[in-house]
């Protein structure tokens, strides 16, 4: 029962992030002067199974201005292309804080 | 009145597909073209949903599913092709790069 609640929360997070990110991307697109500073940064993840990492990378693809490019061989590092890499530390902090926790609540008992 | 709005949306979607077509024809690299094809498929799918509403029929709803699946499979096959040169690889000859 608790798991069901966590799954519903994860789904709601998915939808919310999708809307926020599309709004951010649209703002970037219709700005008259292109003000993006793209780049690729690495993210160490604590998740282990393939299933969790798949979920996390899908979620990252839906966050504002980030897109998973590659997963390292040891499946512990994700390479993420960010649209505006103002502060990579802040970005990865945010991903770790909200998404990993939400996914862990679903997959771990 | 609603049909006017729907017709307008059809026109907007058609313009969007034309934009993607430009990227598909011009795109400097192959992945550009793949992304454009993917977007065209997705926009086509929504056009058919609008058409369903316009004609007040449920007959075309199957097409939405089929186009969605075909677009995704096409994208997957093309990306695998330009990545490794093969689409379906043998189980034995696994060269995980």
């Amino acid at each position: 029962m608790k798991k069901l609640y966590a799954t519903a929360k994860l789904l709601a997070l998915f939808v919310k992030e999708l809307f926020i990110s599309s709004y951010a991307v649209i703002l970037h697109i219709i700005r008259p002067r292109l003000a993006v500073r793209p780049g690729i940064f690495a993210l160490e993840t604590e998740l282990e199974s393939d299933w969790e990492i798949t979920l996390l990378s899908c979620l990252i693809c839906l966050t504002p201005g980030t897109l998973t490019l590659d997963v390292a061989r040891d499946s512990r590092t994700l390479f993420i292309h960010a649209m505006d890499i103002g502060d990579a530390g802040l970005l990865s902090q945010q991903i770790k804080g909200s998404f990993e926790k939400a996914i862990m609540e679903v997959t771990r008992p | 009145m609603m049909s006017n709005l729907l017709l307008l949306s059809l026109a907007v979607l058609a313009a969007a597909i034309l934009g993607c077509l430009y990227r598909l024809l011009k795109g400097p690299t192959v992945p550009d073209r793949i992304a454009a094809l993917d977007t065209i498929g997705v926009l086509l799918l929504s056009m058919i949903a609008v058409l369903c509403m316009l004609f007040r029929t449920t007959a075309y709803l199957d097409i939405i599913l089929v186009i969605g699946i075909l677009t995704f499979i096409g994208t997957t096959a093309l990306t695998r092709y330009i990545e490794r040169g093969v689409i379906i690889e043998d189980g034995d000859a696994e060269d995980d790069r």
Binding site: F14, L18, S21, S22, V25, I26, H28, I29, L34, R37, P38, G39, I40, S57, C58, C61, L62, G65, L67, L69, D70, A72, R73, F79, H81, M83, I85 | M2, N4, L5, L6, L8, S9, V12, L13, A16, I17, G19, T29, P31, A35, A36, T39, L43, S46, A49, V50, M53, T58, L61, I64, L65, G68, I69, T75, T76, L78, T79, E83, R97
Partner: protein, 117 residues
């Protein structure tokens, strides 16, 4: 009547978002940025249109369309995967980043651990 207008407005909004993402596909400078536009905005546009269609059939034709629901779920699941695949294929086939890019962590990883592709 007003409900139909609202559904039409949602459809128009979705179409406009799709058009903006197509515009982004034309305008942005390299494949990675374009892939952002194609993945996110186009998905939202399509989801809005499909959800509006579902509501329309539910409210005005008394038809609960499972196919539309399946379509929504399918688009929602496959759009990020497709974006990831294009990005990865672009990187592995050696498309270079835009000149304004500021950072590339993957480059060192590739050259040190896996060798040139």
């Amino acid at each position: 009547m007003i409900g139909e207008m609202a559904i039409g407005a949602v459809v128009l909004l979705g179409a406009c978002i799709g058009a903006i993402s197509a515009f982004g596909l034309i305008r942005l400078p390299d494949i990675y940025l374009r892939s952002h536009a194609a993945t996110k905005s186009a998905t939202v546009g399509v989801l809005l249109i499909l959800a509006a269609a579902f509501l329309y059939f539910l409210l005005y034709l008394d038809h609960v369309s499972v196919k539309l629901l399946l379509g929504i779920v399918f688009v929602f699941l496959t759009a990020p995967v497709a974006g990831h695949l294009t990005g990865r294929a672009a990187y592995r086939s050696g498309v270079s980043l835009w000149k304004g890019s500021v950072r590339d962590d993957l480059k060192q990883e590739d050259s040190s651990a896996q060798g040139p592709l």
